[in-house]
């Protein structure tokens, strides 16, 4: 008696396993293709983010005049920075600028979002118009502000003089305190829409039932905001703040165009000071070390916020 090996009708015989017949088939494999698709962005990030970052660190450890070969000096550039009185002025300026501007943007942005979340005529148009400060190129809007802060043309001075202040009114960019206040206000004006629109998007995800329930429980408007809106918006506020701090801390264009760090370094920030040293004085290593001192503060902040968000 022999065993019959005829295939059963309707049952497909399993294909024998075999190696890929061609490169085309190998490329068709999902893991291979997905890695190929990932290669371009990874290379892009490595080239335009990773390489400059590592190069910046290497530069900061060298005495590296422009157009010359660098020599390794360890942490000497950082020691020079710490002995430089302007550096400490720059550090204080940057923290004040970032802290105050971020706080103003957060409060203003929240108020803006709540206002924009109401129903009124031409709501969409108003929302679109509010984005203008964020859309207009910074250099362009800064030039407009430059005119508005020039005592000869300033609308603010015109009002203050009309109210009885002696001519020519405040020197917005000539007085160190007013100059810092001016750049903070302009940065806030520019960054407010980013906060406002992002928080508005968050507001619109809050279920109306929660407000209805709170109202039935007798909550006032403030209590609804404090105990319903704010807790639900908290993750979005943290993310927007994180981005805002990073952008504000590294701000360059506004100061470079408006004051170039003056008067007497009252508005000099890390980014503008690093640029002046690196490009103006041709000290690439020293300039890189100034720029890199931003890193620990920013890294700590990002870490703290990330941990906080995870815990939430």
């Amino acid at each position: 008696m022999s065993i019959r090996t005829e295939p059963l009708i309707g049952v497909t015989r399993a294909r024998p396993r075999r190696r890929p017949a061609s490169l085309a088939a190998w490329l068709d494999r999902e893991p291979v293709f997905s890695w190929l698709m990932m290669t371009a962005p990874i290379l892009f990030l490595a080239a335009f983010v990773g390489y400059p970052f590592v190069y910046g660190i290497l530069l900061s450890l060298q005495d590296r005049p422009v157009a010359h070969v660098g020599t390794f000096v360890g942490l000497k550039n950082f020691v020079r920075d710490f002995n430089d009185p302007i550096f400490w002025r720059v550090a204080v300026n940057t923290f004040v600028y970032t802290g105050v501007a971020t706080l103003l943007k957060m409060i203003g942005g929240l108020a803006l979002a709540v206002a924009m979340n109401q129903n009124f005529r031409m709501k969409n148009l108003v929302r679109a118009v509010l984005l203008l400060p964020f859309i207009v190129p910074t250099v362009l809007s800064t030039v407009a502000w430059m005119w508005m802060l020039d005592p000869a043309f300033s609308i603010f001075n015109w009002f203050l003089i009309a109210l009885g202040m002696p001519k020519p009114g405040p020197s917005w960019l000539g007085n160190p305190t007013l100059a810092m206040a001016s750049i903070i206000v302009i940065n806030t004006w520019r960054g407010l829409p980013f906060y406002g629109i992002t928080l508005l998007a968050g507001l619109q995800t809050v279920p109306p039932e929660l407000y209805e329930a709170a109202t039935i429980d007798g909550a006032s408007g403030w209590q609804r905001f404090r105990y319903v809106t704010l807790p639900l918006l908290q993750p979005i506020i943290l993310i927007v703040t994180l981005f805002s701090v990073i952008f504000t801390f590294a701000d360059f264009q506004l100061v470079y165009v408006l004051t170039h760090g003056g008067p007497q370094n009252a508005t000099q920030l890390f980014a503008t000071y690093a640029f002046d040293i690196g490009m103006g004085a041709g000290q690439l290593g020293l300039g890189a070390s100034v720029a890199l001192t931003m890193l620990p503060a920013l890294a700590l902040l990002i870490l703290a916020l990330t941990l906080y968000m995870r815990r939430q």
């Binding site: 157009a67 020079r80 020039d150 008067p263 370094n265 490009m279």
Partner: protein
């Protein structure tokens, strides 16, 4: 189907990348050209003369195409840095202030051009040698000076009985007091601009006998009686003659104030008069220019030299060298200067009495000032330390802080500490 489209995608991506990488080099191989990187001139006819007259003439004569690449003067140092760091880009560049010294190792020795041109065109001003020679070699061919001088309103000065520009700083101060009382203040930049601050601060310091560093390039001597006198003068000059706003001014500010008829005197290039003649003819009629006032130790001006350098790593460096030599010959150079009136003041004595000076006689002080013009930081040699001093606005801020209310002793001590820290590496 999906497999084929994926392969197609990859093929196209690879082919595209290869094509992009190869195309420029194939294109370059067919060209014979020299690229000149230059500031976009304030005087449009100057750029047009290169684009429409000189470049086509050179191509016709030699077959070498000249690419005239324009950039803003503010971004020029960044562009030059990028070119020297990457070893690719333009072949010839406009260069100015201390940059020939910073980039010297990457610039071709063009002494042969300088000597030939100097011999044929009346010789160089000393200021040209100060700006172009690095360690005995000409690293740039000085083209011209963009002088920073006094711009003053003749009608308002006349109101206080002054028809000739004051000869000394003290005399100017006395006039300024009277003019401020009549609501015609002065406006001299004391902020972080590009040139209008250094344009009068260094000459003021020098005219009182002050200096930052000795010619040895090491010894810091800012803490002196001469510096203190210059700072004291600046404080009262600011307080009694100027707008408070000058402390925050950048380079555009005094031009705006001038055309808003807000100030009666400032320190600027010829551009104020040039622009006034074009756009504000009534203001132009009452605008005049003069050399800086003198102090107890003489009269000084800032050397704001622009020149041209050839990158020594350029594959076309010989062609670039030859083009630069050709441009600097009288036949070409005279026309190029004339295209901008006298906004660019020649460093060659052959042009001292050129007809272009008669087009606008009010510009003649810019020519006369070149004999007493020096680079920022003079008499210290132009070094990387000096470039750092200028980039950190050490001296400008010393004066500005005093004007804002700090004591003379305090501001000089601060400046001295900064200078010593910077020059510690010399």
């Amino acid at each position: 189907m999906s497999g084929r489209s994926r392969r197609d995608f990859l093929k196209i991506a690879v082919a595209g990348a290869a094509g992009t990488a190869l195309a420029p080099s194939l294109g370059r191989a067919a060209d014979k050209s020299v690229t000149l990187l230059h500031e976009s001139s304030f005087i449009k006819t100057f750029d047009e003369y290169m684009q429409k007259t000189l470049a086509p003439a050179y191509e016709k004569e030699t077959g070498v195409k000249v690419v005239y690449e324009l950039t803003s003067v503010g971004s020029l140092p960044t562009r030059i840095s990028t070119i020297t760091e990457t070893g690719s880009g333009a072949d010839v560049t406009m260069i100015f202030l201390l940059y020939p010294f910073l980039f010297a190792d990457k610039l071709m020795d063009v002494s042969d051009i300088a000597e030939d041109i100097g011999k044929k065109q009346g010789g160089w001003y000393d200021a040209a040698k100060e700006a172009g020679i690095v360690n005995g070699q000409w690293k740039s061919i000085p083209h011209s000076n963009i002088g920073q001088l006094m711009n003053w309103r003749t009608d308002w000065f006349k109101e206080v009985g002054v028809t000739k520009f004051p000869d000394t700083w003290e005399e100017l101060y006395e006039v300024g007091k009277k003019l401020k009382a009549k609501d015609h203040p002065f406006g001299f930049e004391l902020g972080h601009g590009f040139g209008d601050n250094h344009g009068w601060i260094y000459p003021l310091l020098w005219s009182y006998g002050g200096r930052e560093v000795e010619p040895d390039g090491k010894t810091v001597v800012i803490d002196s009686d001469e510096t203190a006198r210059a700072v004291d003068f600046a404080r009262k000059f600011f307080k009694d003659t100027m707008l408070d706003d000058v402390l925050g001014w950048t380079d555009v500010s005094n031009n705006k104030a001038w055309f808003a008829e807000q100030i009666s005197c400032t320190n600027n290039a010829e551009s104020i008069l040039w622009l006034a003649k074009r756009d504000f003819p009534d203001i132009a009629k009452v605008t005049d220019q003069a050399m800086n006032p003198q102090g107890p130790k003489g009269r000084f001006h800032l050397l704001n030299c622009i020149g041209h350098s050839v990158f020594n790593f350029s594959p076309q460096k010989q062609e670039a060298h030859d083009f630069l030599h050709w441009v600097m010959e009288e036949k070409q150079l005279g026309g190029w200067y004339a295209s901008a009136d006298t906004y660019y003041q020649p460093f060659l004595h052959a042009y001292d009495n050129a007809p272009m000076w008669d087009v606008e006689p009010r510009n003649k002080p810019y020519r006369d000032a070149m004999g007493s013009a020096h680079l920022p930081g003079w008499p210290a040699p132009p070094t990387r330390q000096l470039a750092e001093v200028v980039a950190k606005y050490v001296t400008v801020d010393m004066f500005a802080k005093a004007c804002a209310g700090a004591s003379t002793k305090e501001v000089i001590k601060n400046a001295e500490a900064q200078l010593k820290e910077i020059y510690r590496t010399a």
